[in-house]
Symmetry: C2
Subunit: 202 residues, 2 copies
């Protein structure tokens, strides 16, 4: 049996990554979405094991020391990371896994697991991204300015990804995403044993 | 504007390559199917420029000498090849091009144009391939035996291709083919300028 494929998805906030992913996961029931771990306090309504695995700083550091995180980073005095065990287990079972992480984490994953497929979702333009963030109306102007600046820094890192999807139209972006999932399973490296099987049944 | 992408498709005879390609071309009107050139005599109903470009041996050799063939081979005293000019013209116009050629030609293309995407179509098994060839009822047993042997030799070369499609179910094989076409356009190399564009419109 073939091993599962690891997909890593990044996008600046406001690019519609969440919507694309939830649609793709709805339509592809055998994809496993990896839940991240964090040391930050759960917000209202957040459920342990669904939104995040909520760990204490001691637990998180122990996981790091034991090699239990594929990637991790520290933001605002809190740790965020991808627990390794479940991901490896699913891949071994032939199940494809999706990680939704930021660009630094994605680079860590690519170094640790070069066969991972990295997908970056772009907004149509930084101008449009600013418009979307403004439209939400939940943030102050200086927070939006900071978000836009961060987005620009992240977009530059798209150069390190395998695939680029532009989310200028949701349905097209979802189709693009699914084409990447499908094509990645059809690569030669993924199907060496299939060639042998075909020749065996002569 | 992005250049077009070059796709090279090979399959042993009896794998349903013709059906898959005609369906894919029907659904993707902006794909350009490259017509091969040959020195063999046209068969009844074959049209110059549609089935093949029919050239004299002198014309074909002159094209080779002038670097006018992307790849060529000699079978049974006749030449077969892919004229370069039209392919390059379409790629420059941003149009994707499909070459339907055998494995040796595909390897020549990959050497000349490493950015080409090579797709191999597999039968479910050599046993099934033999069944399909028998079912056609147009060939003698020894011809079928020879075809099966040739197919086995070709299938071994699938290891050199970028993608492998198994045609065990026509609709699935067509979907796989289209996913490869789509995903190949979404690679990072294809979209470097898109990243810059997004950042420009700030």
């Amino acid at each position: 049996m073939n091993k599962g494929k690891l997909f890593v998805v990044s996008a600046p906030s406001g690019c519609g990554k969440g919507t694309i992913l939830s649609e793709v996961l709805k339509k592809n029931k055998n994809l496993f979405y990896s839940v991240s771990a964090t040391t930050r306090t759960p917000r209202d309504g957040e459920i342990d094991g669904v939104n995040y695995y909520f760990l204490s700083k001691e637990e998180f550091k122990m996981e790091i020391d034991n090699g239990g995180m594929i990637e991790y980073a520290q933001y605002c005095d809190n740790f965020y990371g991808t627990p390794k065990e479940k991901v490896i287990e699913k891949l071994e079972q032939g199940i494809d896994v999706i990680l939704e992480i930021e660009t630094n984490g994605a680079m860590q994953v690519k170094r640790a697991m070069p066969e991972a497929v990295l997908i970056f979702i772009l907004p149509p333009s930084v101008f449009e991204l600013r418009r979307r963030l403004n439209k939400r109306g939940t943030e102050e102007q200086d927070v939006i300015d900071k978000r836009v600046k961060e987005a620009e820094d992240e977009i530059l890192k798209a150069h390190n990804y395998d695939y680029i999807i532009m989310n200028d139209e949701l349905d097209k972006a979802i189709e693009d995403f699914e084409a990447i999932l499908k094509a990645s399973k059809l690569t030669n490296e993924n199907n060496k044993n299939m060639i042998e099987e075909v020749l065996k049944n002569a």
